[in-house]
């Protein structure tokens, strides 16, 4: 499972970076989304995956005696998913607006207006 997730993380990072380097703004957004998912998987992976061991202490014990599923990475991922959803929503609106005003989705065409303002 770990190995599969590790490969998946790598693939998502690579695909995300590749898409961010494209010239189309839409592909840029897709790249950012892929990259974000890769990051979330990475955090999940680095929090040590344990199967079927909830982080609950038996009533007679005072410490964890056994391996347990760390709840913190899941909480972190939840937060970061919410945040990146917000940012992606903003990005999509921004791109739509930029496309309407600039009439292009080519990032190279964005460099034309470099004179005085």
């Amino acid at each position: 499972m770990e190995i599969l997730l590790a490969i998946m993380t790598g693939v998502l990072y690579a695909a995300g970076t590749y898409m961010i380097l494209r010239r189309s703004i839409v592909k840029l957004i897709i790249g950012v989304i892929l990259f974000g998912n890769g990051v979330n998987l990475l955090i999940f992976l680095l929090g040590r995956i344990t199967k079927g061991k909830p982080p609950i202490i038996a009533p007679e014990l005072k410490h964890f005696a056994d391996l347990y599923a760390d709840p913190i990475p899941q909480a972190l991922i939840l937060t970061s998913i919410v945040i990146s959803f917000g940012l992606q929503a903003f990005a999509i609106i921004l791109v739509k607006r930029a496309y309407k005003v600039l009439k292009t989705d080519d990032l190279d065409m964005l460099n034309t207006l470099d004179e005085d303002s």
Binding site: I20, I25, L28, V32, F35, G36, V39, L42, I43, L45, L46, G47, R48, D70, I72, P73, L76, T79, S80, I83, S84, G86, L87, F90, A91, L94, V95, R97, A98, V101, L102, L107, L110, L113, D116, S117
Partner: protein, 502 residues
């Protein structure tokens, strides 16, 4: 109980941003409320500063969970100073933006988002938890995206797309580093990480982690080679917005770098050398970029990059004297850079353009304003005894003593080029005769404003200029403050003890 005072700046800004939402379309009420809010925030910031100065580092455990498990807010001198500076810049820019930003833009909830931005900045300065730092960074960048794209003009959208991409990418890299560090040490409390990271067997991974964080913060603070989004987007929004961005947003990246590099990551030669190389390249790229530009606001944008390099280099030397210089520079830079972009806005209001080739004769037509501007420009250069001068003594001396001659050379060159650029602005915009230039008929010139509006334009610049003069002439106070902060940063054990053993 009284320790909770360090969270009050957050509460003030949160409260006012919510209050402002109720006056969404009533721009006049918004203007008054935001100025009141920023005055209160300024008062609270002074209280926090005084409290921290008297009592030293103190910690607030959210929900009474003790340090490594719960979320902590840590108020040390560095945080308190930066909160005070944020409040000063926030107050002046809010006064400035009441007239410099047109009402149509204010109706999109400008001030509400502005308070959220200040909330995020204060939070980032206060938090002692790495993941919370990420969350505050997100609050900052989402507010700044709104501020940079508000109005939706052509070049603004262009700047916003670049700004968005790089900043979002930066925070994803930050998150990657955070994940790696959690995998290494199993904690996210900064003081706890600092203790546990020393016992990690594989120090190479720690270095990799440091480089991930360095990349993320370098994107935010525009360090070479990740700086090219800054001049492309900082001249596009209204001047008030770029003033607050220039003053505070890049500095929050520098703050995070200072915090991480002094507290968490070990000072091995590899990281220090990397920082020095980056600093030299940042100074050079910023300085050479500034020479060839003709738009005043673009020149200022490149000067931001150049001066970020000064601070990064001081961090790379890492002794008390260099850190003193860095902190002094941070204090000076927030005040001066905020003021510079407001001056850019004022020049635009006076002459309808910020292109140096098209304006001239500013000194002839507005001698008093020109004198005000030259104070700020000279503070930026560091003509003695103005504020940019004293900190350079620390930086020069420490780089000379430690044998960092490349950095020393870059510092001197950077300072000289700053002087050259300022002289160029002075000669072109102030002394040259006004060339033929026609503004559009709808443009409202400064002369046609009401007297109260003129005051709202000039007042913030005067306030910040007075602060600059104070930093220059009262340099011994600022020097003492910076030395105290630098000592704290250098002996990070104090910070760790304060957080982990309350």
């Amino acid at each position: 109980m009284s320790e909770n005072i360090i969270t009050y700046p957050l509460l003030v800004h949160l409260f006012f941003s919510i209050v402002l939402m109720f006056f969404w379309s009533k721009v006049k009420v918004q203007k008054i409320v935001t100025i009141i809010g920023n005055f209160i925030a300024f008062g609270v910031a002074i209280a926090v500063f005084v409290f921290t100065w008297q009592n030293g580092t103190h910690v607030v455990n959210a929900g009474n969970w003790d340090a490594p498990y719960g979320i902590v807010f840590v108020g040390d001198m560095l945080s308190a100073t930066l909160i005070l500076l944020t409040a000063i810049a926030g107050l002046t820019v809010s006064i400035f933006s009441t007239v410099s930003i047109i009402n149509a833009r204010l109706r999109f909830g400008f001030f509400s988002v502005y308070h959220f931005l200040l909330l995020g900045l204060n939070g980032a300065f206060l938090t002692g938890d790495l993941f919370n730092l990420y969350v505050w960074f997100e609050i900052i960048i989402i507010s700044s995206f709104v501020l940079i794209s508000i109005g939706g003009e052509k070049n603004q959208l262009e700047g916003a797309v670049k700004y968005f991409t790089l900043n979002f990418f930066g925070s994803l890299i930050f998150l990657t580093g955070l994940g790696v560090i959690y995998g290494l040490v199993g904690t996210l409390n900064m003081a706890d990480i600092a203790v546990k990271i020393q016992s990690v067997n594989n120090q190479i991974i720690v270095d990799v982690c440091a480089i991930l964080f360095l990349t993320a913060f370098a994107i935010k603070s525009a360090v070479f080679p990740l700086n090219f989004w800054l001049p492309a987007s900082y001249h596009t929004p209204p001047s008030a917005v770029s003033a607050i961005f220039a003053g505070l947003l890049t500095k929050v990246g520098v703050y995070a770098l200072i915090r991480m590099m002094t507290l968490i990551f070990p000072h091995d030669p590899f990281l220090m050398n990397l920082l020095m190389v980056l600093a030299v390249l940042t100074i050079l790229s910023g300085a050479f970029g500034a020479i060839i530009q003709n738009n005043i606001r673009k020149v200022f944008s490149f000067l931001i990059i150049c001066h970020i390099g000064f601070m990064i280099g001081g961090l790379g030397i890492f002794n008390v004297m260099a850190l003193t210089g860095v902190i002094f520079y941070l204090i000076h830079d927030i005040i001066v850079k905020t003021n510079l972009f407001m001056i850019g806005g004022l020049i635009y209001r006076l002459k309808a353009t910020t292109n140096m080739k098209k304006i001239g004769g500013l000194y002839k037509s507005y001698p008093k304003l020109s004198l005000l501007m030259i104070i700020v420009l000279f503070s930026l250069v560091g003509v003695p005894p103005l504020s940019g001068f004293w900190l350079k003594i620390s930086l020069f001396l420490s780089s000379y003593n430690t044998g960092n001659y490349w950095y020393l050379g870059a510092l001197i060159l950077g300072s000289l080029i700053t002087l050259l650029v300022v002289a160029k602005i002075w000669a072109e915009a102030f002394w040259k005769n006004q060339p033929e230039f026609k503004a559009s008929k709808r443009f409202i010139f400064f002369d046609k404003l009401y007297p109260i509006q003129k005051w709202q334009f000039v007042m913030p610049i005067v306030i910040l200029a007075i602060f600059s003069l104070y930093i220059g002439f009262g340099a011994e106070h600022i020097q003492a403050l910076s030395e105290r902060i630098a000592e704290d940063l250098y002996n990070s054990q104090n910070y760790i003890d304060a957080v982990l053993k309350p």
